[in-house]
Amino acid sequence: MPEPVLSVRDLSIAYQARRGKVQAVRSISFDVERGEAVALIGESGSGKTTVGLGLMHLLPATAKVLEGNVLYRRHSNGLAGREIEVLSLKGDNLRQFRWHECAMVFQSALNALNPVLRISEHFADTAKAHGYLSGYRQTTALKERSLQLLSMVRLDPERVWRSFPHELSGGMRQRVLIALALLLEPQLLILDEPTTALDILTQRSIMDVLKELRQKLGFAMLFISHDLALAAELADRVATVYAGAIIEIGDVRTIFRKPYHPYTIGLINAVPTLTSDKSTLISVPGSPPDLIQLPTGCKFHPRCPLADDRCRREEPPLTEVVSGHKTACWHWSKAREVLKVYRA
């Protein structure tokens, strides 16, 4: 087994708020293998975006990494190369890591582009900032590479190249961002809610573009999304995030067919699909926890139908229950018996 591209270990991040400390990320650990697509799914306020920002060193000033480490491995010619300790990167090394190694596509495509720059200038700026194709070679080679990327994301390259962001639709801007992220051939692409706020047909084309690009270019992806359908379609492995922690992680089929955690089961049962019957839709009772005053024990216990005294007292660790599948629940062995999974 080759070494993973990214290994996150015991990452904890908190925000300082007036009311107290917001424990946005609590001891999260996961790996992203080479060329693999991993999805972090969770509801708003579960801490999933904070994980992504933390990996890119983009946390706001009020946030602090409390502990943990993030190891990134540069691979070349199929061999694991240099290891980079991401959280201690500074200055030029950090700049080198961002975009060359790991690029991010942000949540709001509408705001991520500079409104007074043409798309061509966005590409030139990115290349310049990261020292890509400098000097006289830049103009022609960069344009060639950029146009190639723009057509790979199914845009009309010549037209888009000259456009300002406001001349493009939301879906087109999102595709420009994906092309821009791939400019320096990163090994890892982090996508934060890449299809949220887009129309169905536009979402579809973004998903198709991502699938195609991944096949062609072989980069690894880390999706951050609340959309289970997106994860079902694009991810190889899925991690469910609740109250800042991963409560279940495993192969996409196992997560959707044979989930072990009551929260994952609840989420899957709460999403209507075109084929589902009306009577099988059940929502998860209660509402997500306050990250400042977390419940004791298992953070899901106030909403969990299986909760007992032990759940209220002790937080269950994330443990391997079947090969490659981990879950954090004291009752994992009977969860699916008690709470039916209607999609299975």
């Binding site: 079902a232 209507p272 075109l274």
Partner: protein
């Protein structure tokens, strides 16, 4: 057929943006019966929200009439206007923006009750407010009375918005993307609440959404209308529309929907569009507005003639030349 609660008669709505005219809603005809559940589905810019706002009386029509119990809402007599205004309520998309941040939940709900004299005196008002909070599952109600909107979660705020709409005992609620800002795990419970309002109080609902799977679930016994660039492309019984889509646009939408099921999602057959990008509202295509993207585009007739909305094979009304040609 009894007289419909609401009837849209050749309703059009245009907007002028920088001197150019945009057609947001183009010749919509629709009857809504009392207590009916209807979902309008479509992508952004299809005119679904504009239609909802016109039905709720928040936006006048450019031409055409909207009838409430047979009376044109634009020229309705004062006495009937009040009945209409109270009878048709709206729940907005964003529960963070639609509640007054400096009023407590009690104040928010008491104001319409007292203004319209549904309750008299403090104690009766308080009793009614408690009842309303219980109807929308905000229990125990006393925990919520003195809270401000910022102390509630998105789902709870949306429940307060619904309770506010219910203060004046409406017959019909227009809910514009009322669940799309709410977390996945609690969406269904909000929809179940709407369903209960219908079953127990006979309140009809128009739910405006972009999510066909959600629409099928919500309008299980009701109807779904699919809109595209200002027109209704297909309308019929919810399960017919989703299980047996007749219009190519409905079929494309259904084939594009991502499914929360890894096997179904990967096995699903996609229909390719002729063009991915939605045309500009400033240059709405001639003839059938879907023709530049339509996978079964059949030439001149689609480019030149607007297909009328007619009964198709499965009982739904469909606006497509091909579906009708096939039938006759």
């Amino acid at each position: 057929m009894p007289e419909p609660l609401l009837a849209l008669d050749h309703v059009n709505r245009t907007f002028t943006v920088k001197g150019q005219t945009i057609k947001a809603v183009d010749d919509i005809n629709l009857d809504i019966q009392a207590g009916e559940v209807l979902c309008l589905v479509g992508e952004s810019g299809c005119g679904k929200t504009t239609t909802g706002k016109m039905i709720a009386g928040l936006l006048p029509t450019s031409s055409g009439r909207i009838l409430y119990r047979g009376k044109d809402i634009a020229s309705i007599a004062d006495k009937d206007r009040k009945a209409y205004r109270l009878g048709v309520q709206m729940v907005h998309q964003d529960p963070y923006a639609s509640l007054n941040p400096i009023q407590t939940i009690y104040q928010t709900l008491a104001a319409p009750l007292q203004h319209h004299r549904f309750t008299r005196g403090e104690s009766e008002t308080k009793r009614r407010v408690r009842e309303l909070l219980e109807i929308v599952d905000l229990t125990p109600p006393d925990d919520f009375l003195e809270k401000y909107p910022h102390q509630l979660s998105g789902g709870q705020r949306q429940r307060v918005s619904v309770a506010r709409a219910l203060t004046v005992l409406p017959e019909f609620i227009v809910a514009d993307e009322a669940v799309s800002m709410v977390d996945v795990s609690i969406r269904i419970s909000l929809l179940k609440m709407f369903t209960r309002l219908k079953d127990e109080m006979g309140v009809g609902v128009l739910l405006i959404t972009h999510d066909l799977a959600l629409a099928k679930y919500f309008a299980w016994e009701g109807r779904i209308g699919v809109m595209y660039l200002g027109r209704i492309m297909e309308i019929g019984q919810a399960r017919e529309v989703v299980d047996h889509p007749q219009h190519p646009y409905t079929q494309v939408l259904l084939s594009a929907i991502p499914e929360a099921d890894p096997d179904a999602a990967r096995a699903k057959k996609r229909i390719e569009l002729r063009s991915t990008d939605m045309p500009s509202l400033l240059q709405i295509p001639t003839g059938c507005t879907f023709h530049p993207r339509c996978p079964v585009f059949a030439g001149e007739v689609c480019e030149k003639v607007v297909p009328p909305l007619k009964k198709g094979d499965w009982g739904s009304d469909v606006a497509c030349h091909l579906v009708q040609a096939h039938e006759s």
